[in-house]
Symmetry: none
Subunit: 118 residues, 4 copies
DNA sequence: GTGGTCTAGACCACC
DNA sequence: GTGGTCTAGACCACA
């Protein structure tokens, strides 16, 4: 995984997992990789994955069965989408729109840029 | 000025100044406030303003006349726009578009949100 | 380390590090001392080392792995040489040559001085 | 005049004047421009010229006749050369030679660079 | 543990 | 007056 500074790595991992859930690669009820395995996978300090799993637990997306591992909750997909949307609308969009105004860009410009940088 | 965590204050000040330049409130060739004055204005430590001015110098937006103060360069407006655009197009937009895809939002949805935030 | 005024300490540290890199004492890929350790080493304030590391980062000579520390980039040696050469050729040499002309010194005179200082 | 940072402007002016003396443009015994005139000429704060003239006075190169102006002393040319040489040998050369060693440049390289950047 | 930021305050050279 | 540097010390997020 490539992480883009300065966003916290544990958040980027959380979003990565959420995308796996939304896309259906990880299914509700499934056991997800252990902290250690996942940390090895994405080449990251295990503590960082712990933080990610904690966050997802708080959001009700995953649960821990002690001694067994972490599992996707039944409503994981719905909660994931909600979480992501909340983040996006509240954190990203206002700043994004302010920038568009300052730079005097409209949605047509964005589409152009989007296609060029696709 | 109200600063929104967790973005560094000196960066927020830089963006603020850039907006003043783009909007034409600060004109090319103008002397900008002294480090101390500006620090008093926005109620931060002078060192923080020093960091901001350093950044803007590196970007070629302002220059120092020794013993006199900082001045907007002749191409300050263009450079400011370029700087902001670079940030936006390279850092913000790709992430933004990825989010749109994941959340299955299209530009119509954004326009709605945009109008609400306008 | 002994610092010679009036050159800023953080620049002198940067040059010192660059010399360590060019001489091969610090190798590409190596982790370099933490800000705190290095500050203790050379007996300066940690903030001063932060400035040095920032400069070297901007020059592409070192990179930060978040939470781990700073590392020499793969092209650190080349970039270091380039950086130093740039300083030397652009800043030092023209002035130097102008002085030689004014003082009517030629390279033979310099060699003599050079040998004495060797 | 173009001043190259970060060298103090008043020193650069001093060297400029010294060059005028060595080249013979300003002759011993001549009256030199008033502080104000010279400051206007080189577009600099008069206080800066005052510092320059003070320095040159200390070096015995110029003298003030109160109410009349500054004049070149009789031995101005010799003293100028001595001053410049002292500066050059003590301040510039050691650093210069150290750089040559670090960058593994020899005098042939310098000549090449010299010719290219002439 | 790592670096990043910020404050407070001091000192300095320079214009 | 101007900016530049440095220190001391604190707090923080992150890995």
């Amino acid at each position: 995984m490539n992480f883009r500074p300065p966003a916290p790595i544990f958040l980027q991992i959380a979003e990565h997992i959420i995308q796996l859930i939304i896309s259906g690669d990880w299914k509700e009820g499934d056991r997800i990789p252990s902290v250690r395995d996942f940390a090895t996978d994405v080449e990251v300090n295990p503590n960082t994955v712990v933080r990610t799993y904690n966050l997802l637990s708080q959001e009700g997306i995953i649960s821990n069965k002690r001694g067994v591992g972490y599992f996707l909750n039944e409503n994981a997909k719905k909660l994931s989408t909600t979480y992501l949307k909340k983040q996006f609308i509240n954190e990203e969009l206002p700043y994004f729109i302010k920038m568009m105004k300052t730079l005097e860009l409209d949605f047509e410009d964005l589409k152009k840029e989007y296609n060029e940088h696709k």
